[in-house]
């Protein structure tokens, strides 16, 4: 029996180690904080004060037009991308993060999908036609951005359920 308890203890310690990552606190000692996990946050409900506990230390924080933008390292899955969480009046308003769901799956999974195109800002339009595609579902507060030539979604968007996408953001 004690062997089983020992195994269980080792496994739980290993899982805790892989879940968290070490950051230094103000005194310089290492503190374990959780990795960014999109499912830990509920837009419209999660308070700003819980973010550190839920998704760990942001890599950058910016204040912009009445909002606080928290940028998180998404780790190995998307080295050059960040997850972004926008907080307004102390509550998470929306978030964007790296994801790789198949586009076909998204289209078959949700009803009331609206299609649109993402404008690529700062790009020389004379040499480029079209843009990234955007699928949004107001009923569930979810959106998906993908390249027209790719089969998988690149960025997932989430905002409070039922709120029209056209009213979310700056």
């Amino acid at each position: 029996m004690w062997k089983w308890a020992l195994c269980l203890g080792i496994v739980s310690m290993m899982s805790m180690a892989s879940y968290g990552r070490a950051v230094k606190n103000k005194r310089g000692s290492k503190v374990e904080t959780p990795e960014f996990r999109a499912e830990s946050i509920v837009p419209g409900e999660t308070p700003e004060s819980k973010l550190l506990v839920l998704v760990g230390q942001p890599m950058r924080v910016l204040r912009e037009r009445g909002r606080v933008l928290y940028f998180y390292d998404v780790g190995l899955r998307g080295a050059s991308m960040t997850a972004t969480v926008s907080v307004r009046k102390g509550v998470v308003e929306w978030m964007t993060y790296f994801c790789d769901e198949p586009v076909k799956e998204v289209l078959s999974k949700y009803e009331g999908v609206k299609e649109g195109t993402v404008a690529l800002s700062g790009v020389d339009k004379r040499s480029l036609r079209g843009g990234l595609r955007q699928l949004t579902v107001d009923e569930v507060g979810r959106g998906f951005v993908y390249s027209p030539r790719a089969e998988k979604v690149r960025v997932c968007l989430r905002w409070p359920t039922g709120k029209p996408f056209s009213e979310v953001g700056f």
Partner: protein
Amino acid sequence: MSKGWLVVWIGFTGTFAAVSPARANLNAGIEALTMGSALGSEVRDRIEVVTGTTSDCVYDMESGRITVSETIAASETEVVARCLAPAVAQMKYESIEDQWLEHSGVRQAWVLDRGSVRTKELSNKVVTEPTARATWVVLASREMLLQGTKEKKGDPSRGIASIPIAKSDSKIRELLGLVN
């Protein structure tokens, strides 16, 4: 169609294509940009000359093709190359984006903006607005045109004139798939 007629037909169309001045100029422009590299065959596979277009050289994200107007296709090598370079850079960006962002030390964040999405780049020190794609297009175009200029030193009949001599970037050449 019998074998004999097929041979005659292929010969006829081949001869016709070979003497087409627009295609010859276009090929010369592609060659000047890519210098026999794998990028050249990639461009040739995706390029299309279209009539009655108002845009000269455009990469279409939807189809993955580059369209070139008839006027440009029939122009001098340098004109073709200069027009094509940004569109070719746009085409290449699709496959090298992650490597480019990593190389640039840029982290791309996505921001919601009332019914639309825009990107925000987070460099290590400051937030820069021009997107990684735009930076890539400028630098990759310059690198391709520079490639032609270097060749011109050895062979005056080839290459792209009037590009200021500047330092070549080996990483961009690598991402473009240009032969060193």
